[in-house]
Symmetry: C2
Subunit: 330 residues, 2 copies
Amino acid sequence: MLQYAVGLDLGGTNIKAALVERKSGIIASERIPTEAEHGVGHVLARIENAVRRMLRSASDKHVCGIGIGAPGTVNLQRTNLIHPPNIPGWTVVDVRAELQRRLGHHLHVVVENDANAAALGSAHYGTGRPYDSFVMVTLGTGVGGAIIWNNSIFRGSTGAAGEVGHMTVDSDGPEDEAGVKGAIEAYLGVRHLSRHARRQLKAFPDSCLYEIAGADLVRLTPEMLSKAASRGDEGALSVLEWAGQKLGAVLGACINLLDIRTIIVGGGVSAAGTLILDPARRSILAYIKPGMRDGVDILRETLGNKAGMLGAAYLVFELLDRHASTSEES
Amino acid sequence: MLQYAVGLDLGGTNIKAALVERKSGIIASERIPTEAEHGVGHVLARIENAVRRMLRSASDKHVCGIGIGAPGTVNLQRTNLIHPPNIPGWTVVDVRAELQRRLGHHLHVVVENDANAAALGSAHYGTGRPYDSFVMVTLGTGVGGAIIWNNSIFRGSTGAAGEVGHMTVDSDGPEDEAGVKGAIEAYLGVRHLSRHARRQLKAFPDSCLYEIAGADLVRLTPEMLSKAASRGDEGALSVLEWAGQKLGAVLGACINLLDIRTIIVGGGVSAAGTLILDPARRSILAYIKPGMRDGVDILRETLGNKAGMLGAAYLVFELLDRHASTSEES
């Protein structure tokens, strides 16, 4: 029997919603502004409406539940979303209770951290499909991460595991947004990457980036770096080489600790593709214990922003599997 | 019914063997030189003899099997010990087959990496008892590590997980013995710690360490550092503060990735106790994402070198549990 669920990706700017069929993936989807500035009740109403539209698009199909990936912390029971950054005024909300009250208790509701949801999406619909276990890193405004172990999210003691972005690669290094010293996010987060790039580009006065991003490079973005590097600009290549080395360092640390040798990189900055992943592939082995270097692979996730919705929907399918196996046992 | 097993800790210098009763711990034990220079066959014979003496000391008690903790890599099936460092000429040996051939196939034999075995010992007999999950770090000649997740060893994809010692804390830092850049072992491994200490102590010409370890400090050991620091020597305190900060950095990275908030530190250097652990406790929070700092704790393992034998024996008890639950199901 076909299984359907609604997968939601709740961001500070947009809510992305999809109707997902377990085997074939996204059937229908939409994107609406979050309008986070109007407060929690408003955002919940927008989520409710997005779900209703997806349920309507399912017409006579039986939709089992709603999965939601969201920034911030989620409790171990996967019901509450706690202090999502970018949604002002949101403290602790029992999203499951809210949505079941609005949409009916027949719908399962599962909440998960957005990086974890995206990794689950990769595991079942994306680059991660051939692998039972991998570490996912998303390079965007911030640096997110998640651990997939035996096809499921490794959640740790409180549900917060996988925070690769806050792992230090330089114990005396600069702080990231969260105040963590030398964290990889303090190098590869969009704002930080641009800042480091500006400093490094001083050695390359002929770089075409001065034309693209202005004489003071204040408008420099990772996309400009990729574009210039793909044209062979030495300054841009040097910045991406440097960034790739830092990325290799943190991924090497993950491999030493977890002995999970497949890494999947997603997010906006990863659109630079081989320009950043190749330097990371070159540097990573220098950060791994020799006996553990075989089979190390850094891959790119190409699902883009669909990964989050697909993974969110898969949370519901996982729940159905667990219910099925429990009822078989009893 | 009481359960007995022999627990072995195979080191490059000594073989430590114990008869262990599951509930009460070590009943009898011995330590003999490994005589690794005489080759693999000789070492296996010495292991065999040590086990025979433990079996005799068990007299009429029923011993279920033999657990062995050893340096180096162990395969996923926990039968083979691969390239243990410090035992020259040892390539791959099926230790289970060898010992069952010599001692009888009625004995279970389980092989495990020594850091993993020590962590399992801590989990069931030591500081780790109250915790379902923790990260163990051993500070000695090298820096070892292990992950205990839900009371068992987290082994990763090939059985090599938990290599905290090779995680980088400085992506441009010096290499450790294994050639890993900026690894924590390149700072806290005994030899490296002494080298860094000598450099730092230049700022403390009045340090009593110049009397203890000689004008050029070449004989400097971690024990001397601890001793001088406990007397209030400012140079020694400054070195341990520095070392504790590095330790906090790598442990913070572990917590971000695993969301396991209890850390247990063992090994010779940890004998410095609060002198190194207090600086680590002070620094670690600066290396952890803010939402994950609650409940973080760094504890000391006080079992000393008994942890390895106890954990090795426990490998057999775990195996018996699994057999019991399998036969109940069928």
